[in-house]
């Protein structure tokens, strides 16, 4: 028998869990090497939503910021489309040999998902983004857009993964830097609407299956680009119904699939954007999320009594924040950062506008 209340949200333990992930990770996580930027995002933003950012002292804060910047690709010429963040140091080497640097440099490219998570982390830590090569980042985003309006993970002649995920990341990056450059928003919208399925949900790409994660990406990208009004009243109402039908106790990502903690964020955030989150059942959602928390060492997993990870931990915390759990920061649903961080971002935008007008 357990000696704690299963309905108790163990905030302090989750904070420790997040903090632990900022440190040294076991070899088993080597497969996450290419996306360390997302691990930093989940832990830093997790602490922020937990209202425990003060656990990161100034020294550590600067170390995180410096590390994130060390994964930025700063192109050496104006025409390069390699700008952005890699979110990993796999291709960082110490060398004075120009040929070595040139050969490796060819493969150092910003990655849209990493650029988004790195920028969100910097904003959350209160960095002023002054070391971001903003023009280069936006050039990279512009060059990642495909003819059908979608975005790829980076600019590439070979063509690479392109879908709703990267379309969302592109929109977030532009929203964070408050600059859409030559991104073709109309074509982006067209791509998103072309991925609206017969069941009123959005798919990862065109005629794929409607899915909770990709529906978030689609709706958030529309909102961030100011194009949410391109969905008709009827489409919006049907979409809300599809989203609300995902609630079983927690939420599932697709019809007839099992419930998973992360969809309390993906579905919850989408309903928040559509002002329909209050139509969900708070009690059952909360109970489910809490059934997936590890009461011994903190963290959340997708199912009860499963292995925890930073991804489900962050989204479990956000899911509870939507439910107005006391002591948690409010989350800005479409950018997926805290409202506090979003406020700081707004201040930054204002300061950039003033700089430009002075």
């Amino acid at each position: 028998m357990t000696d704690f209340d299963p309905q108790e949200f163990l905030l302090k333990k989750h904070a420790k869990y997040c903090l632990r992930f900022l440190g040294l990770l076991p070899p088993g996580l080597a497969k996450q090497e290419s996306s360390r930027g997302t691990l930093v995002f989940f832990t830093v933003c997790g602490l922020d939503v937990l209202n425990q950012l003060s656990l990161i002292n100034d020294g550590l804060r600067n170390e995180i910021i410096d590390w994130v910047y060390s994964t930025q690709v700063i192109p050496d010429c104006e025409s390069s489309t390699n700008g952005g963040f890699m979110g990993t140091t796999t291709l960082n080497v110490k060398s004075d040999d120009p040929l070595v640097l040139k050969n490796i440099g060819k493969y150092r490219k910003g990655h849209l998902a990493m650029t988004y998570t790195c920028l969100a982390t910097l904003v959350t830590l209160g960095d002023d983004l002054s070391r971001v090569d903003k023009r280069a980042v936006i050039r990279g985003v512009e060059a990642s857009q495909n003819d059908n309006g979608s975005f790829s993970l980076s600019a590439s002649e070979e063509g690479n993964e392109h879908d709703m995920r990267f379309t969302y990341c592109a929109a977030s990056i532009c929203a964070i830097l408050n600059d859409w450059g030559n991104v073709d928003k109309a074509r982006m919208k067209e791509y998103i609407l072309n991925s609206l399925r017969y069941d009123s949900a959005f798919s990862q790409d065109l005629e794929g299956e409607g899915h909770g994660g990709t529906t978030f990406c689609a709706v958030a990208a529309l909102q961030l680009s100011g194009q949410l009004d391109s969905l008709s009243e009827v489409q919006l109402e049907k979409l809300k119904q599809w989203l609300l039908f995902r609630q079983i106790d927690g939420f599932q990502g697709r019809p007839n699939k099992p419930v998973d903690t992360c969809y309390s964020f993906w579905i919850g955030a989408t309903l928040k954007i559509l002002n329909a989150f209050d139509l969900t059942n708070f009690t059952e959602n909360r109970e489910y999320i809490l059934s997936t928390q590890d009461s011994v060492v903190g963290g959340f997993s997708k199912w009860p009594r499963c292995t925890t990870d930073p991804f489900h931990t962050y989204f479990g915390i956000c899911g509870l924040s939507f439910l107005n759990e006391p002591e948690l920061e409010e989350v800005m649903p479409s950018l997926n950062i805290s409202m506090r961080a979003y406020g700081k971002l707004k201040d930054l935008h204002n300061s950039w506008i003033n700089e430009n007008t002075n």
Binding site: T90, I104, L279
Partner: protein
């Protein structure tokens, strides 16, 4: 630091530094900066393989041994998109037989069915080969293990679209729906295939029957109801087909069916009638029906969505 999981993967492992054929290469270390965060304690093997990979990259070496090295690097981290990209460049430079690459990938994909990078690599290779011969069997194999694997379905759609492989797909989808009538991915694929051939009134009639038969079998199956809704949206103006669906739903209801998705569907049908109706007394009748259904949903059949059904009623009332 040792990592048992890596050792299990490669039991006869000889470190690169002990291999004579690699003695001319100086490994190139990763620079994680003075204060790394989310630092991973790589196994010795992982560090070494990637040190040699960086050295190869720095020398722009595209050779047989470099190709083998990418294989080790990818086994340790199949999510490293740079290694995949470099591997493709080597394959191109050495003019390798890409059919062999497909064989190699069959195995990798089976062990990493939810990894974006392997599926992407597969797609680029298939594009270059311009030959989809193995794609349907491969995805079928993955879907046998996990019939709702999103990556496999996406790849399957890519191959079908690009190489016009629609012909036998309906039979495959039908088999999957027979195996699991709740497989939403299979229903989606069905819509994808039908859309390609076009919704003629004959096909619509056949599909309406197909779907309603399956709803009768398992009435509270959201996938089938959504599909029915999708079919109806293709029936614009086709009164016969709309009334077929109306009759089907009314009958199911009259015979005592109180399934959530049936009731939700009936609310839709009645809302449409309510909006189109100009006769006040009839309008009130439709509204009454809607009100009844929203009420029983929120109190008896779908109380988790109580707020929603009340919202629904209010929304229709205010229209």
């Amino acid at each position: 630091m040792s990592d048992n999981s890596d050792d299990e993967l490669m039991p006869d492992w000889i470190p690169y530094s002990h291999r004579p054929e690699w003695s001319d290469v100086t490994p190139l270390a990763q620079d994680d900066g003075p204060y790394p965060v989310v630092q991973i304690a790589y196994s010795e093997k992982f560090s070494e393989v990637y040190d040699y990979f960086r050295a190869i990259l720095a020398a722009n070496e595209k050779s047989e041994r470099a190709l083998k090295l990418t294989q080790d690097a990818l086994q340790l981290n199949p999510a490293n998109y740079t290694v995949w990209q470099y591997r493709r460049e080597i394959l191109k430079d050495l003019k390798k037989d890409l059919h062999m690459e497909l064989e190699y990938l069959d195995n990798i994909i089976e062990n990493n069915t939810k990894n974006y990078q392997v599926w992407h690599h597969r797609r680029v290779i298939v594009d270059q080969l311009n030959d989809p011969i193995r794609e349907l069997p491969l995805t079928e194999n993955v879907l046998k293990m996990d019939p709702k694997n999103y990556h496999a379905w996406q790849h399957r759609q890519y191959a079908i679209k690009k190489f016009n492989l629609y012909d036998d797909e309906l039979a495959y989808v039908d088999r999957l729906i027979t195996e699991d009538i709740r497989n939403n991915s299979a229903w989606n694929q069905r819509f994808f295939v039908l859309k390609h051939f076009g919704f003629t009134s004959e096909i619509l009639g056949r599909e309406l029957q197909y779907t309603t038969t399956r709803i009768k079998r398992v009435p509270n199956n959201e996938s089938a109801w959504n599909f029915l809704r999708g079919l109806l949206s293709q029936c614009e103006g086709a009164i016969d087909q709309s009334s077929y669906v109306n009759d089907f739903c009314e009958e199911l209801y009259e015979s005592g069916g109180r399934f959530v998705f049936l009731l939700a569907f009936l609310i839709d049908l009645n809302e449409r009638r309510y909006m189109q109706c100009e006769e006040e007394s009839k309008k009130a009748e439709f509204y009454k029906k809607i009100e009844h259904m929203c009420t029983i949903l929120s109190t008896d059949h779908d109380s988790i969505r109580q707020n929603y059904w009340q919202y629904m009623l209010q929304r229709i009332r205010s229209n």
